[in-house]
């Protein structure tokens, strides 16, 4: 037994308000389980953005298409790391594949994840890049040539029949992919929403709210990455693309905010037994993370800022740099807001006692596997993976582009 761990629990004792069941002093799902839905949320959101191009033919956001796919892939690869690291016995993770319990949302999620990764995301990435990889491989030597040849599964066929099949397959996969992305993150919401023991989580709305906040975070993150990476790779930001993407983000934030508002009103109006302890928790333990960060900084201020750019666009033409700055601030605030949303759901759900008579505290560690340091590493890792993916599959260097991307000039 870890004496440090016992010590940390002892430190929590004086922080308990009211009465909690004795076993509830340990908060079981900590920072790693906050990071996890944030990461899968970005996956779903980035993929939905990509689907806008393919299925709904929104040509303005074409430059974001490949970037969103790669972002989704990078984040999807990191997601299970957070989960496995959190387990009491990470070395036994395979049990979930060998003897899955079909009534368990967590077990079934493993298969949804595998389906989404293999049948949707990897396939889509492959089909998008196949002809380009063939083209690049022809002009390269050494390691890169080997990588591209292998990734293309040694295909060399760029004939009509093959390319036509590529397009058909892409369309089909994206159509299947949209409900799959919904299922992926909706399932994460269901994992929480199906726990009848916990009234903070147990709600029909939780999977929906999770999904829409995922879309918000994914779209915002891809915009952020686009605005940062395009200049870094020697390109020029297409404001037409960014404006359109911000449009979608704006509507997504409005829907997300409305859903959360509806949930709030519903709870307060129905005023069930748990409302007293939940209000106490929101106003004391969660005040900073919920009222300030999630609502004010994460939703209201970005909404206000983006509305300003829309209102003033007609009357005074805002200079491009100012607009870029406003967008940039908004998407960053949104990231903090959505992360805070995940925190409030996961940690908030464990800070009140199921006896409805007391509150406890979550003490975040700095080091160790549940610590801040490791969480930051996990959040940075997808960016690193994305960098690698962008090196191997550069998003703006199409050999046979799917319609010349408007306004993206690639230097060199």
């Amino acid at each position: 037994m870890n004496p440090e761990f016992i010590h940390s629990l002892q430190d929590l004792l004086p922080q308990i308000q009211g009465y909690i069941y004795p076993n509830e002093i340990e908060i079981h799902w900590g920072l790693l389980i906050v990071v996890y839905p944030y990461i899968t949320g970005v996956v779903a959101g980035a993929f939905i953005l990509a689907s806008l191009v393919k299925v709904f033919n929104v040509r303005e956001v074409q430059p974001l298409y490949r970037l969103s796919l790669l972002t989704a892939l990078a984040y999807l690869l990191v997601a299970p790391m957070a989960l496995v690291a959190h387990l009491g016995h990470p070395e036994r993770f395979y049990e979930i594949l060998l003897t899955p319990q079909t009534s368990s949302a967590m077990a079934m999620f493993g298969f949804v994840y595998a389906w989404y990764l293999m049948a949707v995301l990897l396939l889509e990435v492959w089909f998008v890049h196949r002809t380009d990889m063939i083209g690049w491989a022809e002009q390269e030597k050494g390691v890169m040539r080997f990588i591209h040849r292998t990734l293309a599964l040694y295909s060399r066929d760029t004939g009509e029949r093959a390319v036509a099949f590529d397009h058909k397959a892409l369309k089909a996969i994206t159509i299947v992919g949209i409900p799959s992305a919904f299922l992926l993150h909706g399932y994460v919401g269901f994992i929480f929403g199906s726990i009848k023991a916990n009234p903070w989580w147990s709600s029909v709305l939780i999977p929906i709210v999770f999904l829409f906040s995922a879309i918000v975070s994914g779209v915002a993150l891809v915009i952020l990455l686009y605005m940062v990476l395009t200049p870094l790779t020697g390109g020029k930001i297409s404001m037409r693309c960014v404006d359109k993407a911000i449009d979608f983000l704006f509507y997504a934030v409005i829907v997300d905010f409305s859903l959360e508002l509806v949930d709030f009103i519903h709870r307060v109006y129905q005023s069930e037994e748990e409302i007293k302890i939940l209000s106490e928790m929101v106003m004391s333990k969660l005040f900073a993370s919920l009222i300030i960060i999630q609502v004010l900084l994460g939703m209201l201020i970005p909404l206000l800022l983006i509305s300003l750019t829309k209102i003033f666009k007609k009357r005074v033409s805002l200079n491009e740099d100012l607009r870029k700055m406003i967008y940039f601030i908004s998407v960053i605030l949104i990231q903090f807001g959505i992360f805070a949303t995940r925190w409030n759901v996961v940690i908030g759900g464990q800070m009140f006692s199921k006896s409805f008579r007391g509150l406890t505290t979550y003490k975040m560690e700095f080091g160790g596997i549940e610590g801040l340091l490791f969480a930051i590493l996990l959040l940075a890792l997808p960016i690193i993976i994305l960098a690698v993916l962008m090196k191997v599959l550069p998003p703006w260097k199409e050999v046979h582009g799917e319609g010349a991307s408007e306004g993206v000039e690639v230097a060199g």
């Binding site: 003897t99 599964l153 066929d157 029949r161 036509a164 099949f165 590529d166």
Partner: protein, 251 residues
């Protein structure tokens, strides 16, 4: 293989090959995995066996009687008849297996018995409770009470020996000067078999009226609050509103 590439477009054919390869690998892995690892019922049966095989630490109610039969007979008749020996003496399975080697603990400290018998307002009514600081200080409990037949050395004169909560509540109420026997008749037998023989309780409004009616004659009740017995409290008996052991109306 060539036929595959003729029939299907190139990308599809390659993907089919990959999928088939993964499928073959998957099936091989699943087949090669030993049954206990994939059959959850086998794992459950195994877990049940392991759970059943855990060592027992408490011997049980009857185990002590095999050797300590006289003590067991004594205990069977006294107030502690419902207690297991191990309630006080702790886990004794090891002792039953090798009586010479390990002996159960015999608690003699004054801090032990108050774990059950110290006064606590949350304890049920009628459970014998004492103030461990004031009750025969410094003397070991066992010097007056045989733990296996713990009747008090002298029959308690005061009802408060068992009815601690009621006594303490009455002591800070307006009825402090009333003896328990003012309202309750307790046959001597009640102190010996408390659950079998119960004290009496008043049955009528007139009983309380002896002190509280407007025309009460009792000299002791000179300063007691008086009410009109015919009108006060409609059809109810007095104790349906006034708790007799704390009858104050004001908060």
């Amino acid at each position: 293989m060539g036929k595959l590439f003729e029939k299907f477009p190139d990308p599809l054919a390659r993907l089919i090959v990959v999928v088939l390869a993964l499928f073959v690998v998957g099936v091989t892995v699943v087949v090669l995995i030993p049954k206990p690892m994939k059959a959850v019922e086998m794992q459950w049966a195994d877990a049940v066996k392991r759970e059943e095989a855990r060592p027992v630490k408490y011997a049980g109610f009857h185990a002590c009687a095999e050797c300590h039969d006289k003590l067991y007979e004594t205990k069977k008749k006294g107030y502690h008849r419902d207690l297991s020996c191990e309630t006080c003496h702790g886990p004794a399975k090891a002792h039953t297996e090798d009586p010479g080697k390990t002996k159960p603990v015999i608690p003699v400290e004054r801090t032990f018995c108050p774990q059950c018998h110290a006064y606590n307002p949350s304890r049920p009514r009628g459970f014998p409770q004492i103030n461990p600081v004031a009750h025969n200080p410094l003397k070991p409990c066992a010097s007056c009470h045989n733990p296996h037949d713990p009747k008090p050395p002298t029959t308690p004169k005061e009802c408060s020996a068992c009815h601690g909560e009621i006594a303490r509540m009455k002591a800070v109420s307006h009825h402090v000067q009333l003896e328990c026997t003012t309202c309750h008749e307790a046959p001597q037998q009640h102190k010996v078999s408390p659950r079998a023989i119960k004290p009496t309780k008043p049955q009528t409004r007139e009983f309380c009226g002896k002190c509280h009616a407007k025309d009460a004659k009792d000299k002791l009740a000179k300063n007691a609050p008086k009410i009109d017995l015919a009108e006060h409290g409609e059809k109810y008996v007095c104790w349906q509103c006034h708790y007799p052991h704390s009858p104050e109306v004001e908060q």
